[in-house]
Symmetry: C2
Subunit: 204 residues, 2 copies
Amino acid sequence: MSGKDSIRSQIVEAAKKRFSHFGYGKTTMAEVATDCSMSPGNLYRFFPGKLDIAEAIATEDYQRHLKELGKIAVTPGSPARDRLHDLLFEELRRTYHKLDKEPRAYEMATVIAHERPEYANWMLATERKILVELLEDGKRRGEFSFSDAEVTAEMIQAAVMKFRYPQLWSKLTLSKLERELEGVLHLIVDGLHAPRMTERASVA
Amino acid sequence: MSGKDSIRSQIVEAAKKRFSHFGYGKTTMAEVATDCSMSPGNLYRFFPGKLDIAEAIATEDYQRHLKELGKIAVTPGSPARDRLHDLLFEELRRTYHKLDKEPRAYEMATVIAHERPEYANWMLATERKILVELLEDGKRRGEFSFSDAEVTAEMIQAAVMKFRYPQLWSKLTLSKLERELEGVLHLIVDGLHAPRMTERASVA
DNA sequence: AGATTGAACGTTTTATTGATTATTCAGAAA
DNA sequence: TTTCTGAATAATCAATAAAACGTTCAATCT
């Protein structure tokens, strides 16, 4: 089956070049097929449709991102708070730069989000697993306190929604976004509540 | 000048009916003028353009909302936390119902947001003033602790962005959104940190 | 004078048409 | 048999022309 897989990735490579060069809409299945020295009809033995090729490209890229997030989440010796910080910043910066540097990425993100609403949910759920691990480790270390890690992770994701697709929501610069994320993170971790024990102790 | 003002509001009323009935795009200036028994050209003595009539309608509605928020923010005897809760829920519910019950409201919101990006910023800034008051009162009462109320208000607004135009971001039901907002509020107020003095004391 | 009109102007929307495109599938090639 | 092709199809897109629209302003009315 390695033959099939290699053809599949040949198609993905050809489509990636076309999509990032001319855009998703301006690329035809016939062109991708020609690049792979095959007929358009044959593409459908490897992908159900054009959109699925785009999804495969996005997913390939996303796997790299996930690996990075996973690495950050388990950095040994680092406080859970710092790891949460780095995780959220990695998320923000990756998306920002992706959309900033690759003008065609925006179109692809829009098309997939529009035609495959579940895809975004799948990404959220996947990242939530990493977040849950991180939260539970933080709890074990006595840094965090909450009752349900899954629910807490959902709430953190809701609170940082603005930083997930930064360019879709606002026209803020990266540094302004980073300042805001820093502030939201601070809120999330420390809360608005009156001073806590540790601080009180250090003041006294 | 009361004559001019009453004509102005006559125009707003006529446009409101048309916009909510047929939509902003399908309503012509000529129609609004006819409803007011005047010529199209005459509308421009009262409004710079069509979009400004839409803005006037939106602002009129928004003033009522602001008044409600202001009332909630200063409810006497109520803990600041509860008032913050009610404030954010009022915000969510108003927008949700507005877009849910008035199919044409979505179009108007979209058009204004697109052609007048500053308008959304103005609303945010206006509401932030109320939020700052509430936060500072909470600090005075010893409920909240933070260094800069303005910045903290900005951060809260960033964290609840998802609930500001609920239907634009997701297809969640109102009750699911409410549950999420409840969770985010809890995060914001209490944080992820280890148990605080008061809780520790009550446990001991 | 100031207030109002409505025809005129340039732009935007709509309708229509023709061309392109994604996808399918009967059959050819391997 | 399994793999692949490419013409056929139905859906989408692009181009165009016509109609409608927002806005302006010289002329008219009060």
